[in-house]
């Protein structure tokens, strides 16, 4: 006899064997034992969750020699015939290949005949959504008033394709995806009975890979058993199944969040060496970024497919990054994953994506900036403030470039920039005179953001915004995405309209590009007497920063110089 695959060997035989559908099996058991079985059922749900198995068990429960019973014996002739698909009274129809009205007419013709040996005649229509409209119409008439000895069970993965007229004639049961933990338990049970040595972590990976389908998980297990026999090791399992080790993908995420392209590329190379395809790597990275967004935005309760431990890991990894930044990383990865899938050189495309992700500037929400300003303006001491998170650092680094964007009176109230250029250019008198208060500029950016988010974001990314009497100068890095976007005619027009609305006067929009990030604001706005003093304070702040200290400790180095980012 040829080898029987696990999915067939371990196909549930009783209601209690069905995994993860307790409400449904309990109801069906009660229906059978109370003799109140409906004349038509519809079992819907994703693949591999037990729809067809449940249908067969219902058939056995009703036709079992000892039945109708909620616990069919699986030993009598009827039960065995049903299990083997040989029963004359249990007719399984694959609607995917019998879609036409004539197939349904054949059923209708035959239902008037009593069952040959069993108590009931049961029609299991698999993939019922594939039936044609006329086939459904023909079936409807029978479903309305079927003979008492007939039971219909429709199984489908796409219940929305079933006409409502049919749905309302059937007792509907929606099968859910089986949770990772339930699949793992089931796999553990089966592997122990099959004397297969496999560790929990691998079982967990397989359960996750199965995406809620018990059948898929057993197929994966079959694959492993066929390759490694009864002793399966974690590394071998991940390599043969092409599953990316979770630790590896987490380390990539860590590198990306720490803006460390080198480390992320190293992790990628590591994965490629282990035989993971770049496309698979991209998919998994996208998946973990999505989980990160979900965990950050909704908390841990919404993700059922991850273990508590994994969620905690994600929480730790993303603790220093805000939701907006994670969202933008996710969006970028989603776009790039598409390109990677299509690319002839997926590895190259993935490397480029990892670099983009790792060097992507984090988004700082207006609310964060405002709250930061508020907290800083409450402090009498100028300085860098608390460095509570990685993002906060980024806020401040960004801020140093355009302090006037957010600080009404930089010299007196706000923390001084971390550093300033060695030779600050003298400020342009016109600009200095006509420049509005910083909070007014923040208000302007917020106003633009409210009108058109992308435009506001690009504006935020600019190196400098100089608002004069009748014009707004926006200074960006040469060839940067922000500059390219803002230089577009429609962007300029939108800016002109919005600024006119905001300042109640016509404003000219000039987009200027510089070779390097603008480095002049801090110094320009400081009075020369304060510069040195301020610089010293800032240097001290940087030196005292816990992250800098930690970096010194890790790398065994010391800070020699502080330069703008």
């Amino acid at each position: 006899m040829s080898y029987l695959v696990l999915a067939r060997k371990w196909r549930p035989k009783t209601f209690d064997d069905i995994v993860g559908q307790d409400y449904i099996t309990q109801t069906l058991k009660n229906a059978v034992s109370s003799g109140k079985t409906a004349h038509a059922f519809i079992f819907s749900g994703p693949r591999g969750v037990g729809k067809t198995s449940t249908a067969r068990i219902v058939a056995k429960a009703l036709n079992c020699e000892k039945g109708p019973t909620p616990d069919p014996c699986s030993e009598c002739t009827f039960c065995q015939e049903i299990s083997e698909g040989k029963s004359l009274d249990v007719i399984e129809i694959d609607a995917a290949s019998h879609t036409g009205v004539n197939d349904v007419r054949e059923i209708i013709e035959n239902i008037k005949y009593l069952p040959t040996s069993g108590k009931n005649k049961i029609y299991i229509i698999d993939e019922a959504h594939m039936l044609s409209q006329s086939a459904f119409n023909a079936l409807l008439k029978t479903l309305e008033e079927p003979p008492p000895h007939v039971l219909f069970i429709l199984a489908t993965t796409e219940v929305h394709k079933i006409p409502v007229t049919i749905l309302s004639r059937c007792q509907r049961y929606d099968f859910k995806k089986v949770t990772v933990e339930e699949i793992r338990q089931q796999l553990k049970k089966i592997t122990s009975k099959e004397s297969v040595n496999i560790d929990d972590e691998t079982l967990y990976l397989i359960s996750q890979e199965a995406d809620g389908s018990v059948r898929d998980s057993l197929s994966l297990m079959d694959q492993l058993i066929a390759t490694f026999g009864s002793d399966i090791r974690h590394e071998e399992a991940t390599s043969i199944l092409g599953i990316l080790d979770k630790a590896l993908i987490k380390s990539v995420l860590k590198s990306v969040l720490e803006n460390n392209p080198k480390s992320s590329i190293e992790s990628l190379n590591n994965a490629i060496e282990k035989g993971i395809s770049p496309r698979r790597f991209a998919e998994d990275l996208l998946k973990i970024l999505r989980y990160s967004v979900l965990v950050k935005t909704c908390g841990k309760s919404v993700i059922s497919e991850l273990s508590e431990e994994e969620i905690t890991d994600i929480e730790k990894l993303t603790s220093k990054v805000n939701a907006e930044s994670l969202e933008s990383l996710f969006n970028l990865m989603l776009e790039e994953a598409e390109n990677i899938q299509k690319s002839f050189y997926p590895q190259m495309a993935l490397e480029l994506t990892l670099i983009k992700l790792s060097t992507m500037e984090r988004i700082v929400s207006i609310e964060d900036i405002i709250s930061k300003i508020e907290s800083l303006s409450g402090s009498s001491k100028p300085g860098y403030g608390k460095s509570a998170s990685m993002d906060e650092h980024r806020v401040d680094y960004k801020k140093k470039e355009t302090p006037t964007d957010i600080e009404p009176t930089p010299i007196e109230k706000a923390p001084a920039p971390i550093e300033k250029p060695e030779d600050p250019k003298p400020p342009e008198p016109e600009a200095k005179e006509s420049m509005p208060q910083g909070n007014q500029k923040v208000g302007f950016i917020k106003f633009i953001k409210d009108k058109k988010r992308i435009l506001g974001t690009r504006l935020e990314q600019a190196n400098e915004i100089v608002i004069e009497e009748s014009r707004i100068r926006i200074i960006c890095d040469m060839g940067s995405p922000g500059a390219l976007y803002l230089k577009r005619q429609e962007s300029k027009e939108a800016l002109k309209n919005f600024s006119g609305e905001f300042y109640s006067r016509d404003m000219r929009i000039d987009i200027e590009e510089t070779d390097s990030p603008a480095k002049k604001d801090g110094g320009e706005k400081m009075q020369s007497n304060n510069i040195k003093e301020q610089k010293a304070v800032n240097r001290k702040k940087i030196h005292d920063d816990p992250i800098v200290k930690e970096a010194e400790e890790i790398f065994g180095g010391r800070v020699i110089d502080i330069k703008p980012n």
Partner: protein, 334 residues
């Protein structure tokens, strides 16, 4: 004799009629509550030919039967019985010529036959002699769904609290057939339990296809990413197809858009209800929803939906990720 009364009774009066009066030779059943219509047909069957299968009980379907066939069957005498019951389902699908033949029959029906014509399209039947028949409308007043649900639960032997009934209706809608199906399931699940709690209802009851979409749209209108993503992941966990979810979101936003345009053009409410083909209850929620979105929002949202639709159909990346992006985008302020 034919009762010559121009009657349009509600379904609830049918039970009284059947208890108090003799069986009428012709009944016309209309209304959208299949459950009540079928119950009425079943009662008629019991009264005329008995509950079991009988050669004197004949069912025709409007899309396949002819008027002549029906009239001939109704005109023949019953076999070994005093009465014969002929039921025509989906009678609205009969051709005009066939309806004319039935009209002639209704004018002078057989006294030993009870003919029940069931019209399921919600329109007024096109029968000239309809006044000669006894008509019952089996539509349910919106306010009655709650009490009907509780009564149905009672008939199955358990108590369903008002809150439980409200939850059930919110999940499955107002169709009594659907409600009956769910109540039967609940009674089976909680065998022996005298009272069903909300948790049981939520676990076992299929969710209305649109219930989640309303929650999702509500979350989007509040820019509540947490709630919106929560609904989305719940749909995903249930194995809902992303394209199907998208189509439902699009359907709702199209409704919101239409409603907004009509309200802004000051179209009278009655006209709006007619154009939108909806009840005033459903319109209330729609009119509240449309207030939450500006035209700018709607245009932006429709563009995003179109883009997402395209991506779901051609993209290589898992569809749930694309849908997640859509929800994040719709929840963003601009």
């Amino acid at each position: 004799m034919v009762q010559r009364r121009a009657t349009k009774n509600t379904g609830s009066k049918f039970e009284d009629h059947i208890k108090e009066r003799t069986i009428s030779p012709v009944y016309v059943f209309t209304g959208d509550q299949i459950y009540l219509v079928e119950k009425a047909v079943s009662t008629l069957k019991e009264k005329t030919v008995g509950a079991s299968e009988d050669i004197n009980y004949v069912v025709f379907h409007g899309d396949t039967a002819t008027g002549k066939e029906i009239a001939d069957t109704a005109s023949t005498y019953p076999m070994f019985s005093k009465m014969k019951l002929v039921v025509v389902k989906n009678a609205e699908k009969l051709k005009t010529g066939d309806l004319e033949i039935l009209d002639s029959y209704i004018a002078s029906p057989s006294t030993s036959t009870c003919l029940a014509l069931v019209f399921s399209d919600g329109k007024k039947p096109k029968l000239k002699n309809i006044k000669s028949a006894l008509s019952f409308d089996f539509s349910l007043d919106k306010g009655n769904t709650l009490s009907s649900t509780m009564a149905l639960a009672g008939s199955l032997g358990y108590e369903l609290t008002r809150r439980g009934a409200e939850t059930l209706i919110s999940l499955v809608g107002e169709d009594l057939q659907d409600i009956q199906n769910e109540l039967t399931k609940l009674s089976l699940y909680s065998a022996g339990k005298k009272r069903i709690d909300e948790a049981d209802i939520k676990s076992l009851t299929k969710k209305s296809n649109f219930e989640d979409v309303f929650s999702l749209i509500n979350a989007i209108s509040k820019r509540n990413k947490r709630q919106a993503l929560g609904v989305l992941t719940e749909l995903e966990a249930r194995g809902e197809e992303p394209l199907s979810v998208l189509s439902r979101i699009s359907w709702r936003f199209r409704q919101i858009w239409k409603c907004k345009e009509l309200i802004d053009k000051k179209v009278p409410k009655t006209e709006v209800l007619k154009l939108m083909k909806m009840s005033s209850g459903a319109f209330y929620y729609l009119s509240e929803d449309q207030k939450k979105f500006s035209y700018g929002d709607i245009v932006r949202i429709m563009n995003a939906l179109g883009e997402c639709d395209k991506k779901l159909k051609i993209s290589y990346v898992p569809k749930n990720h694309t849908l997640t992006k859509l929800v994040l985008e719709l929840c963003s302020k601009n």
